[in-house]
């Protein structure tokens, strides 16, 4: 039997002595599933994305991705999983200003060990897909925020990852850009049978997903605040 794409058990994450997140969250995301994680600001949506991508570690509990407990892997193994199997789109896009658009898209392909020819071909193909092939040699500071977000999505999809993590991918984007991105995400999940975990506050975006996981309010430790 194939392992789940993501399996979280008894998750707690504490920040300092005052904020506790997740309250022992248990969740499972099956292969090919599209899950939306929603919740109020500060509920831990971004932290959950960080935990699933192996960038951060739980205070208690376990996070398994493709059947592997990330906190038990070496740093180089986690980096390798991020490079080959996980695509991440963060709220701030995180493009490197020194690199051109096509070079930014090529970055994960470098770390996943693709050949030179593949890198050029795949990156050009991804930019064609999002309609930015004419701007491939421009630098991120010359692009609009919508275009930057599209490049970040193209970069995340470049390695054809089995798991795509999206953190508020449409925040501060106009309606037409959002409408252009939605079929891309839905198609990636439905046609390519890839797993998507989407952290969002947008109802429109959450409706795309096959299942919604709602995070609760963070727990504040009153004694610690007073003490």
């Amino acid at each position: 039997m194939e392992a789940d794409a993501v399996r979280i058990r008894g998750l707690h994450k504490t920040f300092g002595k005052t904020v506790r997140l997740f309250g022992g969250l248990n969740m499972t995301v099956k292969f090919g599933e599209f899950v939306a994680v929603t919740g109020p600001t500060g509920a831990g949506k971004t932290t959950l994305i960080n935990l699933i991508s192996g960038l951060d570690f739980p205070t208690e509990g376990s996070v398994e991705v493709f059947g592997k407990d990330l906190s038990k892997l070496t740093e180089s193994r986690r980096a390798s999983i991020r490079a080959k199997d996980i695509g991440i789109v963060f709220q701030n896009s995180h493009l490197l200003s020194k690199l051109s658009v096509i070079e930014n898209v090529q970055l994960p392909l470098i770390f996943s060990g693709s050949s030179n020819d593949d890198r050029e071909r795949i990156a050009s193909g991804m930019l064609e897909l999002i309609g930015l092939s004419k701007k491939k040699n421009l630098f991120p500071n010359t692009l609009s925020s919508g275009e930057i977000r599209k490049v970040a999505i193209a970069r995340a999809l470049a390695t054809d990852p089995a798991l795509l993590l999206l953190d508020e991918p449409t925040s501060d984007l106009d309606t037409s850009t959002v409408d252009a991105l939605l079929p891309l995400l839905r198609g990636y999940n439905y046609l390519h049978n890839r797993t998507i975990v989407l952290a969002t506050n947008s109802l429109k975006l959450a409706r795309l997903a096959s299942r919604e996981i709602r995070l609760g309010q963070p727990e504040l430790v009153v004694n610690a605040i007073q003490g």
């Binding site: 960038l55 180089s76 070079e103 970055l107 970069r155």
Partner: protein, 168 residues
């Protein structure tokens, strides 16, 4: 673009901190060469040269680590993004170590040239004394100092907390 191009993109980016590193390393190595080329009239010359070389090594190592730390501070977020995209610790270490060796190496070569010029000028006041061994030794001290200073920063860079750096 491949890994080498990416590394080169970061290494060739010479900012104020790299320039200070090159100038500082050059001055230290030049002083080292001048001092080591004139052993004291009395006492053990090799002990004196060892002491001068050790001081130069420490100065270059401290200077390079300070310059690279300042560069690391400026590039924290970019390093975090590279790590987030799957770059291993080795890639980050290579970026900082290569740059430190380049800056320290360049500074050492300039320093040796400056040192030789000064020693020749000082020939008016006494007998110049520098040999191929002394020049090679001074370059080795400079390079070793660059590696030591760079290695410390490279290790720190590779151990940055990714979440904290990308949040900035």
């Amino acid at each position: 673009m491949n890994t080498t191009d990416l590394l080169f993109r970061y290494i060739k980016d010479v900012g104020v901190e790299s320039s200070i590193g090159i100038i500082g390393a050059a001055m230290s190595i030049a002083v080292c060469l001048i001092a080591a080329s004139r052993p004291p009239m009395e006492g053990n010359g090799s002990t004196y040269q060892f002491a001068v070389s050790s001081m130069a090594f420490l100065v270059v190592a401290c200077l390079l680590s300070l310059c690279m730390m300042s560069e690391l501070f400026l590039k924290r977020q970019e390093i975090g993004i590279l790590r987030e995209l799957g770059a291993g610790r080795r890639v980050v270490m290579t970026i900082f170590l290569s740059k430190s060796i380049l800056v320290g190496g360049l500074g050492s070569v300039i320093g040796v040239l400056l040192g030789c010029v000064f020693t020749i000028i000082m020939h008016v006041f006494g007998q110049p004394y520098y040999s191929e061994e002394l020049i090679l030794g001074t370059l080795t001290v400079g390079s070793a100092g660059s590696i030591a200073g760079g290695l410390y920063v490279a290790i720190r860079a590779s151990r940055l907390n990714i979440v904290e750096t990308i949040r900035e």
